[in-house]
Structures are given as structure tokens and as C-alpha cells.
Symmetry: C2
Subunit: 245 residues, 2 copies
Amino acid sequence: MTDLMTPDQLEAALRAIGRERYHDRHPFHALLHGGKLDRGQVQAWALNRYYYQSRIPLKDSALMSRAEDPALRREWRQRVVDHDGEREGEGGIARWLHLTDALGLDRAAVIDGRGILPATRFAVDAYVRFVRERTLLEAVASSLTELFAPAIIGNRVAGMLANYDFVSRDALAYFDKRLTQAPRDSDFALDYVKREARRPDQQQDVMNALLFKCDVLWAQLDALHHAYVEPGNIPPGAFVPEGRR
Amino acid sequence: MTDLMTPDQLEAALRAIGRERYHDRHPFHALLHGGKLDRGQVQAWALNRYYYQSRIPLKDSALMSRAEDPALRREWRQRVVDHDGEREGEGGIARWLHLTDALGLDRAAVIDGRGILPATRFAVDAYVRFVRERTLLEAVASSLTELFAPAIIGNRVAGMLANYDFVSRDALAYFDKRLTQAPRDSDFALDYVKREARRPDQQQDVMNALLFKCDVLWAQLDALHHAYVEPGNIPPGAFVPEGRR
């Protein structure tokens, strides 16, 4: 059994997990941001990542459905608003579709998830299920990857604009919003787990939840890298960029 | 809406899916059977595949828990017996541990799933959940990959014995059993879906269930291939063979 950490020690342990395991360290990101991908590969990334985006409000709603404290539900509700918007055409999901439109993907196919990698679906569904089934503390903790998001988003936007003539600032509007939303959300979640994880086993649960979420993100990039960076590996039924295979 | 097929047309459609999507077509299998992997890579395969094996009786029990017909439950129970054995040390799972032992893996680590790829867990858990949540017809249909297993097993045993001095006939005892078990099981499941899928939408469900299961198997090999065949891709926290990284 590990000892009880102070809240600040727990925060330090969580930040150490992010430094080692967050998907900004994945080689696919270096390729994406460094302009080393072609349009078809960026399409594959945006198509698969849409499935992740589309499931985020489901997992946030699942968390709300388990939170008995109205204050927690209200705080968390903002995440759903951020993704779904106040009306048709607004919110993060609509902004992601704006990106897939700009990349020339068929919107109906994106929304249906036609051609996404099975590994994307398996990883994302595992995340939604985790939030549905684990403790509320673990569900909150699994959102903590957002602590590490602002840095990657800054790099991404700058790198993609500098390197891809098929990507415009406008197409990347999703990320502008996330630069303010992610820190607000992760500050709240970090305070929550520092306050609520009062026993060593709960602190361990919190760390394991963050490790799990890092795996969810990493596995998605592994699958993209395998299928679309190395030649000849696109699995049967998955999206094939023009001119590939 | 597609037209109703005859039972034999449905069987032909299912066999066509297997020809196109079963994981015997995956490049990792060619490497495995062709002697192109080193001991560490075969260890990684056996370690990850253990997780799949270990979950098969859970999914078969889940199916039984939903089958109201005692005859179906009795038939299906044999699968659980095959995997779990009649007593400690018997059955398919014990035989798989015999293989991981022979490959020099730590048995406690294998049983705990220490170091398995997150993608393995996501794919296998998706399969168990599918059987728990979908219709009984789809649950039965998702087992139909066993129609295509005998050919791959024959190739595997011959190829591994011929090519790897660290693999013995005895270590591969698991597969000898499967050569008789898989055809018996798949004959039953095939008869079941041919009989029970009486509407076009049910026939479509059956085909989709088989496609899903092919994805589950394929995604596991994709993850192994990415992590252990191409250099530098082992995800954080995953098994690292001696001398790698």
C-alpha cells in the first residue's frame, strides 16, 4: 500500500504521468504538426478524431447522470454546451465538421463514422464505458488529460498552418476555442480530485484513471500511424485516401 | 432494404466475409507463421493473445446468461468447459499458459495482463460487450470466425514448429485441441444463424456481427504489428522484450 500524498504531491504525480504518457509524445503528432503528412493522412486523422469528438458529450452526460451534487452537474454541463453548442451549427462538434469539410471529406460519411478504424471505435468506446462504470472520482480524473492539451494545441495550430496549404486558420477554429475551454475544465477537475481523493487507494485510482485515458489517446494515434503512415497497412473496410492502395 | 437470402446464400455471404476479412490475411500472421519473428515478438503475441483467451469464457457465459433455451445453453456450455477445463490445469486457458511458460514469460504477469497493449484490451472488451448487449442472434453470429480457424491453425502449428527452435509441439497443444473444437462449434453456430435469421434485417445483423468480430481480431494484430514489428513504436507501459528499446 502506498502512503497518502498531499494534494500537491498528487498533482505532481499526475503531471509526471502527463509528461511521460500524454499523446503529444506520440510520433504521429510530430508528423502531423511538422507538415510531414499528406492531405489523405490528415483526412484520416480528422475523420477518426471526429468519432472521439462525437462521443465526448456522451461521456460527459454519463458523468452528469451519476453526479448527485447539482454544483458538479452544472460545472460539467458547460462541457456539453461547449461541444454541442446552443443551436445547430455551433459548438465543438460543428467546428470539427467544419474542419472535415475543409479537408474535402463527405460530411454524411464523417457523421456516420464510415471508414473509421475499428481501433478508434474500440478505444473511444472504452473511454465512454469507463466514465459510465467507474467511480465518479475516476470518471472526473479521466478528463485530466486536458491539463496537457493547451501546449499541444498551440503547436498543432501553428504547425498545421505553417505546413499545409490545404488547412486554413478558419478550418482550425475548433482549437482556438479549446485553448480557453481546456484550462478552465482541467483546473476544475484537478481541484476536484485533489480535494476528493482522501485515501491512498483513491489517489491510486485517480492516477490509474489518467493512465487509462492516456492509453485511450495513444492507442488512437498508434492505429492512425500504423494504418496511414506505414504503407500497405490500411485494414479492410477503413477509409482509403485518394490514390492510396 | 436488401432481399431475403436463402440459408445457403447467407452461408455463402458469410464465407465471403471470412475470405476477405479474417485475420489469416493479416501480414503479422505471415510473419508469425513464416518464422520471421524473434522470440520477443512471439512472446508479445502470446502475452496479448492470452488476454483474448482469458475473456472467451466470460463472453460465452454472457451468451448463456441470455439464452432461454436450455438446449442452446447446453451446447454453448461446452465452449466454457473447453476453455476452463474440468479442473485446475486443464482446458484451453491452461494450455495457453503452457505456451507462455514455454516462451519464458512470467505466469503471474501474463495472468494479470501486465504489459498488454491497451489496444488489445479495448478490442477484446468490445467483443465481450457486444455479446452482452446485442441480440442473441448477433452474439451467436459473432462466434462465426471459427469457421475460418482450422486452416490458420494448421498453418500456424506447422510454420511455428518448422521455424522457431524456441517453440515445441508440446507448447502448441492448445491448437491441437482447437482443430476439433472449432469446427464443432462453428457448425452449430452456422446452423443456428441460418435457421434463426429469417428476415433480411436479421441476416444483415448476422453479417455485421461477423464483420465486427473480424475487426476485433484484425485490430489486435494491427496493434501487435505496429508495436513489435516496426521499431520504436512500443507504447508507454507495454511489454518490452529483452534487448528492445
